[in-house]
Symmetry: C2
Subunit: 450 residues, 2 copies
């Protein structure tokens, strides 16, 4: 599904690449990927998307056709053949450290660190940002929705609202990492080994003469797996029709109306018919806020199908992940790099994140430090995932990643798990990092005066 | 890039397909795709995504591997081989009418109509919704951003914020349909024949010893195409460095800070140096609101790079497109279908949309009518695009689609083009449609009493 074209990048990554080659700027660079701030209403992020990032890094290349396209581009009119020959042989050969998928991440903490020839690190920027930011955003949203459901099943139904089919696959995967039990997306189920779920649409009911025929036909085809949709015309009438038929479905679904009130009524009627094991599914513009409200109203809902908000969350529609140069090694000399513009300072140097817990395993705080600083009992969050362009471990299954997310959330103190209240998890920078930032600041000032 | 797997769908589309076959429900169905309401702050939509929709309809199929995956799925345990044999030969054979890309669309108006064997129409639902809703959302946003820029260039820079790489390509395409002049996305440029643009990143400046070296190297590599980035450390210092070097770049870029004030200062300094033709680019969380504000503050900006808001618009992060069954033809009998649940009524029957203009070509109002109703001088918006699974015309180029959008917006009266004010374009339903809805309502009531 995911292609590996080197052209999946912004043009400026390639002009910079050409510029570095043309001016013989031969350096090894370290880039780190992180968010400056959390989106509104978020207290944590769930890292996701690393698998697709590593897959891209392992396979990215430029075809002959890609290269002849670039040769014709006016911006490269002055660039020597050396650049195009370089692209023809291009492979990513760098080292990558990353926070494992399913772990929690906070602002300022690198989720991924790339150490590579500067050209390679630069060209990868656009793809890495896109794939990690989308899946991290969705996994983080899913964790909130799952938290709000207090143990009831959450199924991801967002394929029709995703930004195309690749996005729908990534959403299904990320939602599962964040704790969803399955997806409606058949290809995602096949590709990622996830459980898939589905009921019936209003069109099924509308296509038949009446609801009796519609429900009977579905039960004929799926005697043990039918989830019948109640709200095409009138919920009460639909349920009465089903009960009168006397054939027990696996479940029923409500997709509109007063879900709390209707679900309680449906539960009562089902129980009265002796169908206490018939499950009630709900769907229709659900998210963590509506689910919280429904459960506060004693809604009798066993499983929630969540679509739009797990494909393109309305309350935090994007994640401002950035990918920053933090160190350059050139002609044997190592130089730390930082962005110093007023509103957007970034810390220099290769970093590690240490997470500190109490004796019960509850997370207390994080420290962002330089690589090699002592852990002092903290758990290092970044691990090596790729060496010289090769993965150091096989891909992890979705259920492992989901398990990691569930375990991590269980270690996060309650205030940070609240849906409607912001709580800032403590993250500090090490003294050595702060000192290094000042050092860079002085160097840049000096250089400007020359 | 876009694959054509039949598994790119929600599971319920396939269970309904199996159900129709298993119960010998042999019907030809008409589905229509439309929005009920516009997202907040939108006065119109720009149709986009049809090309990818038709490409999918022409090529969708199930592989042997897809089918064996479905055979193993527990939900199909009771389904006869007939269904899997059907999928092995599956091709879309229906007829499609649609609003051409770049045209304006309003709530309730079908953008696409599928007439096909009911199983085919059903399986296509998920893909059609995803591809048309995303591109329509982006083209509509782009039209607003372009309108706000009053003739200044808008470039789409959203690849890193898109929901994966396919989404980035679709965003670039849709943004161009909505009026953008180009994209930073290299693969989009190659695939869709669009102009691509790029400057340099902060990392280029940070990687070098100082800004003098950074700018000099870039000008060496790109003597006629350099756009130099000013805000890595300090805008004033950076511009003075460039002017002192005495080598004129093609442009400069501001990516943070007070863009209005800084751009005016930069323009003054450039002009003072005699560099009146050096262009000023701006970027950094721009959208139609910020651009409007910047121009009101006399910002001296020639071109805007717009990223996040053209990949995943924050003010309207999704479009609630729906795909509804409106007619079923079964055993020679035609029956109109409608959804009647309180909050979500849909009109039955195959529709056409007529657009009425005044003598100057300005749009006045639209009428949603039944197919075959007299136009009375209105322009029919839906045209035939596919017959029996084959396209009836070749794909249109992006520049044709962009031209159609620009022409359509020029025909839309001013109040609807305002960025910050809602104005409701008049759309009415024909009397025959209203009568038909009542007919369906009575029929459903009668059927329920049987």
């Amino acid at each position: 599904m995911l292609e590996h074209s080197g052209l999946l990048t912004d043009l400026y990554e390639l002009t910079m690449a050409a510029g570095y080659l043309q001016t013989r700027f031969d350096a090894r660079a370290t880039f780190e990927l992180f968010v400056r701030h959390l989106p509104a209403k978020r207290n944590y992020l769930v890292a996701a998307g690393l698998e697709q990032a590593l897959d891209f890094l392992e396979h990215v290349h430029f075809t002959t056709d890609d290269i002849s396209y670039l040769r014709r581009h006016p911006v490269f009119c002055n660039i020597r053949d050396e650049f195009f020959d370089y692209l023809a042989k291009f492979r990513f050969t760098g080292d990558v450290w990353a926070t494992p998928e399913g772990s929690l991440v906070f602002p300022g903490e690198p989720m991924l660190r790339v150490v590579a020839p500067i050209i390679e690190g630069q060209i990868m920027e656009t793809y890495l940002l896109a794939t990690l930011s989308y899946q991290t955003m969705i996994a983080s949203k899913a964790a909130r929705v799952v938290t709000a459901a207090h143990g009831r099943q959450i199924l991801e139904f967002g394929a029709r609202r995703a930004h195309g089919s690749e996005a729908s696959l990534l959403a299904a995967r990320a939602a599962a990492i964040g704790g969803c039990e399955g997806t409606s997306n058949v290809l995602a189920g096949h590709q990622f080994g996830m459980k898939t779920y589905g009921t019936q649409a209003h069109s099924w009911v509308m296509a038949h003469e009446n609801e009796t025929e519609a429900f009977r036909h579905f039960l004929d085809a799926f005697p043990t797996h039918s989830v019948l949709l109640l709200d095409t015309y009138d919920v009460h009438r639909a349920l009465k029709t089903i009960i009168k038929m006397g054939r027990k479905p696996a479940g029923v679904r409500l997709d509109s109306g007063d879900l709390a009130k209707d679900s309680r009524w449906v539960r009562r009627e089902l129980d009265r018919a002796g169908w206490t094991d018939v499950k009630i599914f709900a769907s229709g513009d659900l998210d963590e806020y509506r689910i919280t409200k429904l459960l506060a109203q004693d809604a009798a809902i066993d499983a929630f199908g969540v679509g739009t908000s797990l494909a393109t969350p309305g309350d935090a529609p994007h994640l401002n992940l950035i990918y920053k140069l933090v160190e350059v090694e050139r002609a044997g000399e190592i130089r730390e790099a930082a962005k110093l513009s007023a509103a957007k300072v970034t810390y220099p140097g290769r970093k590690q994140v240490f997470r500190y817990s109490n004796s019960k395993g509850q997370y207390l705080s994080d420290k962002i430090a330089l690589e090699g600083e002592p852990a002092n009992g903290g758990e290092p969050m970044l691990i090596e995932v790729m060496r010289a362009g090769q993965r150091v471990a096989p891909a992890e299954s979705i259920s492992v990643l989901r398990g990691r997310c569930i375990t991590s959330l269980a270690q996060l103190p309650r205030p940070f798990l609240q849906i409607n209240r912001t709580a800032v998890y403590p993250v500090r920078y090490s003294q050595r990092l702060k000192t290094m930032l000042e050092k860079v600041r002085r160097r840049v000032r000096r250089a400007a005066k020359k």
